[in-house]
Amino acid sequence: MTLNIPPPDILLQLSLNGALGGAMYGVAAVGLSLVFGTMRLIFLAQGAMIILAAYFVRALFYGLGIDPFLSLLIVVPVGLGVGWLVYQGLFRRAAAEADRNISLLIAVGLMFLIQNLMTVVWGGNTAAVVTSYTASGIEILGVRTSFTRSMGFLIALAGTGLVVLFLRSTLVGKAVRAASEDMEAATLMGISPHRVNAIAFAIGIALAGAAGVAVATTFPFNPFAGFIFSLKALVALALGGIGNVAGALAGGIILGLIEAYVQYFISGGWTNAIAYGVFLAVLMFKPEGLFSRPYKKA
């Protein structure tokens, strides 16, 4: 293998595209991080939720003519409601059980259900949202990149920012953080576990909605595309450190960069293996994540 050092503008282009794409993994990872933090649940259905949101955005666009980015105003509140309902209806009882396999399996069942309902309703073919500005590009740092990818990045940044703000400066947010660190102690302080779990779920699904908007405008998608998104989000989560919300976004961006470089320097076929290899290496050597302060979790 000959390693050619590419000219700086190509390097910049690679980095930019990688970072912009990776932010989408990041925003999915933030949702996973919240749910994992309070419930210790690997919510494998997150990716399916993102694709469901993407189909919803597509239906709003082609059915009612609502601009995909404008539909954030609908998708995010709906996501909050759906997340709350999903927790109350499906996970509330399982959350009380010591056996966490049960929650994991409900998530898996939900993933199957959503994937296949989408197939029944919209068919299994690849779908896309094509707007007047889908093909247009903008210039950042002298490098041209797609407008929709940049918007996706902004959505990810804004979503993560809002979540961080919520966790830092509201009382409910602090309760969620306390529960993530030690549910038992938090419960003794009068924090209701069901309430924080439901809030984490609501925000997690709302973020899936936001990610759905970004995915719908950027990539073609199909009902089964969600699972790989869940896996990538898990990688981003591990890179950033479980329980570290801003770290999850950064982890996603790093993953996007790794993928872009591997694709350019090695080959597209190895992208996933190397991404998961990095994931395993981080789990083995730095399980608290790349950015975390020394901090012990159960």
Binding site: D99, I106, Y276, L283
Partner: protein, 328 residues
């Protein structure tokens, strides 16, 4: 739900009678060509996989999300040894069926998986516990899959390896070997769980620190349970190769080979001996029935069934039957 727990001996008797009855099924006229026969073969296959997952997760408490990788490793090992142009082509060309249900090939399928489990298990289990182990094994499964897709001629790339399907004659050997493996794995796990090792495994699951304080080598116990689980999955993969003949990355590394056995175990009863078998029978029957009755919606039904089973039967069928939790 029976309030009165059936004694252990009654369960043993039921299991022995069931195995003997199932072994006699092929003698019935027309049975071998019936649909029920292939249905039972798949129940055995899933029951073996479920039992393997139950060993590391149910008895050992380490949630592995990578058992589909071990299944695939066993399947590929068998297919590559069988067609083995790279290793000893001449033998295959002259005797294409010499590897068909060859016990050595099947054992090697299990061993390759077990070695992979030790290689990945040592670093993962010594540093990580609980959820991180689950995440790590999930990542491992994806890595193995990509490695086989990129394995060039050796693994047949994205298409995979095609074994000589001409050797297939009847489903009878699949059925009997499947039944034998299911029964054998059941007996082996029962003996194991009554040995010192089994007690150590349960001690590690229930309280790692207390187990360690009592002189149990926690890492060794965990890694060996993981390797045992992988061995069982690898042998199951080997058996599947003799059924499917075309071993491809998307078919044998499919996540379903991990998720379905996991689900069957939990529905049947995690950490019970007969739970995985009962779960495999019940869940596979539900899926198969859905496939026949509502073919367009059957994955929807499967998803719903999992959710409903978890909401209303979270402790599993076995424990609901037996009335109380039982370790083995």
């Amino acid at each position: 739900m029976l309030k009165q727990a059936l004694p252990q001996r009654a369960w043993t008797a039921i299991a022995i009678v069931a195995v003997i009855a199932l072994a006699l099924v092929p003698l019935l006229p027309g049975a071998v060509d019936s649909y029920a026969f292939s249905f039972l073969f798949f129940v055995f296959l899933y029951a073996i996989m479920a039992q393997g997952w139950n060993l590391v997760a149910g008895f050992g408490g380490q949630i592995s999300l990578g058992n589909h990788a071990f299944f695939g490793l066993g399947a590929y090992t068998t297919a590559i040894l069988w067609t083995g142009n790279y290793l000893w082509g001449s033998l295959y060309d002259s005797h294409p069926d010499i590897y068909y249900f060859d016990p050595v090939t099947m054992t090697l399928g299990g061993l390759v998986a077990a070695v992979a489990a030790i290689i990945i298990g040592l670093p993962l289990l010594s540093k990580l516990r609980g959820d991180y182990f689950a995440l790590g094994t999930l990542g491992f499964g994806e890595i193995v899959k990509v490695m086989f897709i990129n394995g060039g001629d050796f693994t047949g790339g994205a298409f995979g390896v095609v074994a000589p399907a001409g050797t297939f004659d009847t489903l009878l050997p699949h059925y009997l070997v499947g039944l034998g493996l299911m029964a054998g794995v059941g007996v082996a796990i029962r003996l194991l769980m009554r040995s010192r090792y089994g007690l150590a495994l349960i001690a590690v699951r229930d309280d790692e620190m207390a187990a360690s304080a009592n002189g149990i080598d926690v890492l060794k116990v965990k890694v060996s349970a993981f390797a045992g689980s992988a061995f069982i999955a690898g042998v199951a993969g080997s058996l599947y190769t003799y059924y499917i003949f075309h071993v491809g990355p998307d078919s044998v590394f499919d996540l379903d080979w991990m998720l379905l056995p996991l689900m069957m175990t939990v529905v049947g009863g995690t950490g019970t001996l007969l739970g995985p078998i009962l779960g495999a029978l019940v869940m596979y029957a539900v899926f198969d029935l859905a496939k026949i009755v509502v073919p367009d919606y059957h994955p929807v039904i499967s998803g719903l069934t999992i959710i409903l089973a978890m909401l209303f039967l979270p402790k599993g069928l076995m424990r609901s039957f037996a009335g109380r939790a039982r370790a083995a």
